[in-house]
């Protein structure tokens, strides 16, 4: 639970709307992405911080390796079935408020890889805020996406983002399983049930209810 919940409950709506613009300004000016590269797009994501494009100008060059300290998850590349639970877990580890940019055709829709191995769009796993087309998108397009996300952030309100009760939050977290490579052969029979991949974030669920 962050401070904003206290604010949203304690203050009347008139004041929170005034506060919104300040809070949103802070958030949009300091969108720190999670260091999280998947495939080809990750190279262009790295390129976006390089001298020519310089994502740093918008205060977003601080790629945090720990998802706990990140604000934006840039899904840069194709998400395989094996990666999907991991990706979801990383998303769950990020603190609210958090946003997701789906970078490139593969993350957005599976791209050319319409087959058994690839999740056809990362929005089946995590709620996406901005989609970027392209295979891979140019770094400029990523910067544009960050700016679009900034616009989106400016339209938010602290009242939208109140925490859900703790039990509900626990329930929503999907623990993705990481297999233990213990050297045993033919482990494929041990995990029978399919994993639930598609679970809306707390934030999304609240909106729909």
């Amino acid at each position: 639970m962050g401070l904003e919940n206290v604010i949203a409950e304690a203050l009347p709506e008139v004041l929170t709307t005034r506060l919104d613009s300040l809070i949103n300004w802070a958030r949009k000016s300091s969108l720190w992405p999670a260091t999280f590269g998947l495939a080809c797009c990750a190279i262009e994501m790295m390129n976006a911080t390089s001298s020519r494009n310089d994502l740093a100008r918008f205060g977003s060059e601080v790629f945090r390796a720990s998802p706990r300290q990140a604000d934006v998850m840039i899904v840069s590349g194709r998400v395989s079935r094996k990666m999907a639970p991991v990706l979801r877990r990383i998303y769950d580890q990020m603190p609210e408020p958090k946003w997701v940019i789906s970078m490139g055709a593969c993350a957005t829709s599976g791209g050319v890889f319409d087959n058994y191995a690839i999740v056809q769009g990362v929005d089946k796993i995590v709620p996406v805020d901005v989609y970027i087309p392209g295979c891979p998108p140019r770094p400029e397009m990523l910067i544009h996406a960050v700016m679009m996300l900034q616009e989106k952030v400016m339209k938010e309100s602290v009242r939208d983002r109140r925490d859900v009760p703790e039990e509900e939050a626990r329930e929503a977290v999907v623990p993705g399983t990481l297999p233990i490579t213990d050297g045993s052969t033919a482990r494929q029979n041990t995990l029978a049930e399919s994993r639930p991949y598609t679970i809306a974030s707390r934030h999304e669920r609240r909106r729909s209810s």
């Binding site: 998947l38 495939a39 080809c40 001298s51 395989s80 991991v86 087959n115």
Partner: protein, 404 residues
């Protein structure tokens, strides 16, 4: 060149299991170059056992090849080793050309060599940047990307794509080089040696960097061959093997270049090999640029190669061929070939099996990173956690190619 297996840097003391710690490094970890996962068993900072767990980027490309026509498969190869897409293109189209028995015109071969060497430089620059970043020197990364951007501009000028050019086609090239390309390329090649000097100044002479890389992750020449290492990783162990020399392809036999080797087999040796390769690639590029003669860039095989735009508008048969190639593809004689090339990371082999139709029956790619990574458990035993990062960097892996 030492004969036996090299003992690890630190001795692993046999200790009860509860003093060891198992730690999962990745798939989301800043220095695993993508989505590699390592399961490390640690005794303090010492690595007792490292088990790579790959497949987090498995894309089903080999399955997809079987459902795509030959010319459509080129697009998929781009996304395999995305740091060296033109190399992948080359291996794939050459495998198909071998099946078809096509004769590629001289100019196309020269342009292929030129573009591949530029791409090799670009690939090595990403390796250098990320390797340095892993060890903690962050500025090198930006300098490398600055130089790489110039190469990407060249590739973009030729093909229209920065990262995924698909420039090589079965039977030649997508199209000829654009006007003014040679001058731009010349300018880049003039400036590049200076940039390499800059990298050397930043890293090679740095005592900390030397101590972080020398004597780390050693592997002997015999082990390296036994483990199937290829490319700079193999040459870093003192084995003089380069497919460009061993089984020359695409007119590489006509170029004058050295195959750099270093005897030590450690991270530093692999670093030095790649740094010297930057210069060799530069040398080859300069030669290729000077050899460029006007001429056709597509083979004379109207059933396979798409006709020029102009011809299509004026000749009926060209239009028909274009239509047939695009809609139905072209039949490739039945048979199987294995075509190895020297990609920036090592031997990139494409095994292509045709059953006589327009789609391959089986395409398998021997990714150099896949094989190079399999040696990681051997290299990393008895090293420190920090060394793992350096070793992964020195292997220059690309997960897109490992997982395919």
């Amino acid at each position: 060149m030492s004969s036996a297996t090299i003992p690890p840097q630190f001795e692993i003391v046999d200790r009860p299991l509860d003093t060891q710690m198992t730690i999962s490094m990745g798939p989301q970890h800043p220095s695993t170059h993508g989505v590699l996962r390592l399961e490390l068993v640690l005794d303090g900072e010492l690595v007792v056992k490292a088990t790579p767990d790959i497949g987090y980027l498995h894309t089903g490309m080999e399955k997809l090849f079987e459902y795509k026509k030959y010319q459509q498969g080129i697009v998929i190869t781009d996304r395999m080793d995305y740091l060296n897409p033109l190399g992948n293109n080359l291996a794939y189209v050459m495998a198909a050309e071998k099946l078809l028995g096509l004769e590629i015109p001289e100019r196309a071969l020269t342009i292929r060599v030129l573009m591949c060497e530029l791409q090799r430089i670009a690939s090595h620059l990403v390796w250098l940047g990320t390797h340095a970043l892993d060890i903690g020197a962050m500025t090198v990364f930006f300098y490398c990307f600055r130089e790489r951007e110039k190469i990407l501009n060249l590739i973009e000028a030729a093909s229209g794509g920065r990262l995924t050019p698909s420039y090589f086609r079965i039977g030649g090239l997508m199209m000829d080089l654009p006007a003014g390309f040679e001058n731009r390329c010349k300018q880049f090649l003039n400036d590049f040696p200076q940039a390499v000097e800059e990298f050397h100044k930043l890293l090679t002479g740095n005592k900390i960097f030397q101590r972080r890389t020398q004597g780390i992750g050693r592997i002997s020449a015999e082990d390296a061959i036994d483990w199937g290492l290829s490319g700079p990783c193999l040459r870093g162990s003192g084995v003089n093997l380069d497919i460009r020399r061993a089984n020359p392809y695409s007119s590489y036999e006509q170029y004058d270049f050295e195959v750099p080797t270093e005897p030590d087999g450690d991270v530093w040796a692999r670093y030095m090999v790649r740094m010297r390769e930057l210069k060799e690639s530069h040398k080859i590029s300069v030669q290729a640029l000077s050899r460029l003669q006007p001429g056709p860039v597509k083979a004379d095989a109207p059933k396979v190669v798409l006709p020029d735009r102009e011809a299509m508008k004026s000749h009926m048969d060209a239009l028909i061929h274009h239509f047939l190639i695009v809609t139905e593809g072209f039949d490739v004689p039945a048979g199987e070939v294995y075509l190895p090339i020297e990609a920036s990371k090592g031997e990139l082999g494409v095994y292509m099996k045709s059953d006589g139709g327009a789609k391959p029956n089986r395409v398998h790619v021997r990714g150099p990173s896949f094989v190079n990574l399999s040696v990681l458990p051997v290299m990393s035993e008895g090293e420190m956690v920090a060394d793992i990062v350096a070793i992964i960097g020195s292997l220059d892996i690309v997960l897109g190619e490992i997982d395919r």
